[in-house]
Symmetry: C2
Subunit: 211 residues, 2 copies
DNA sequence: TAGATTGTTAATCGATTAACAATC
DNA sequence: TAGATTGTTAATCGATTAACAATC
């Protein structure tokens, strides 16, 4: 399940930042870039950036730097940025709607192919081009459309039972925005975007601010 | 600036999860809890949970466990969950609106006291009880209301220039939802909630899924 | 050639885990 | 007393950083 490419998790989290710096370089017509410039974008020293990239292969030229286009293309391939990624959205509240229309996702080829909700008044609505379907159709839709990813934006109380259904329906990856720890069978990956928990950690720093 | 309490960052990130488990215990009438139960919620072994809590002091009783109410009260104090936390919201797009009405924030006493936007058609609107003010009034408002925290939910292109203004106006903590790395003066803390970068890391796993 | 920058090794740093005496 | 569970030490693990030979 871990795939063929092994990467330390902190390294993986920095790759999108390197990639973003490469896009900027392209935009500015820069064709060679240094580990120092890449590291700066990710907030790490040049040595860290070089080490991260060395996990992917040898791309740089000593004394010169990295070819912007070549490295960008490689990161796109490693991260799968250009692969179409079908996902369903569960929960069409304020946050769900915002995610459905988030402009930053299109660049990475995320395709939200349908949304689901229990609220009858929302069924049949559209968010952009995304149709809102009744939750009962979840399993059928996942099977018929071969969807592997779900974005979960329902209230905390409903999240676990829906996660169970998603796992049973064959979803492999849940991007969870509900503020709960989900239990899922092995083989299902959960990535938590827990804004309430994050706020609690911000609170720690905020109340310690001087002045 | 680092405050008096030193905590490893991974530990700090787990404290909200322990706290959440304590709330659940209270709800169920459980008055003693073990490091094993706490660790499970955060996805770590019992030894890790004990070590995390030992940074805060000695709360458990050997052979017994932790007092649910006592530990919850202590976590509330350490994290400052019950302290009122004023914040302003910059950017009243879909994501900004969703954050302004996010139900999970009230429990931790986050008070979004105003929202700002450049779009004239949005000025004067209300999101719940939050008024949308023109961006020109940002500095005045921050000074007059002694605000330390800003939630930044503007398009990537505008984020840096607004971060500059926030820092100059005396904001200490920026919760940044724009997909960019902000440069801020020392003394200003930035916490990034970079959904586009996160999607890129999800992509890495998604395209490697078997079947 | 002189200057710049990579890829990699080794040293450092910090977090996690295992083990267990102390305690209830 | 026997069983359970903490707080803490020491061992392990993994990531970061410094340094530098190799390369352009």
């Amino acid at each position: 399940m871990a795939g063929s490419v092994l990467l330390p998790k902190p390294c993986l989290m920095r790759l999108p930042h390197y990639y973003r710096r490469l896009l900027q370089a392209m935009h500015e017509g820069q064709s060679i870039i240094s580990s120092d410039e890449l590291g700066e974008e990710a907030g790490v020293p040049a040595a860290q950036a070089r080490k991260d990239l060395s996990y992917l292969g040898e791309f740089g030229r000593p004394g010169v730097g990295y070819d912007v286009y070549e490295l960008a293309a490689h990161l796109e391939r490693i991260l799968g940025l250009n692969e179409p990624k079908k996902a369903i959205l569960i929960g069409v509240g304020n946050l769900g709607r915002a995610l459905a229309s988030y402009p930053g996702f299109a660049r990475y080829h995320l395709q939200i192919v349908a949304a689901f909700d229990i609220d009858p008044s929302k069924i049949g609505q559209r968010i952009g081009s995304i149709r809102v379907l009744p939750l009962e159709e979840l399993e059928t839709f996942v099977h018929q459309n071969d969807v592997r990813m779900a974005i979960l934006a329902v209230p905390a109380a409903q999240a676990q039972s829906i996660a169970d259904r998603l796992a049973a329906a064959g979803i492999h990856l849940i991007w969870n925005f509900a503020p709960v720890s989900l239990r899922v069978p092995t083989g299902v990956m959960v990535f938590n975007e827990d804004l309430a928990a994050r706020l609690a950690t911000l609170s720690f720093f905020l109340i310690r601010q001087s002045s």
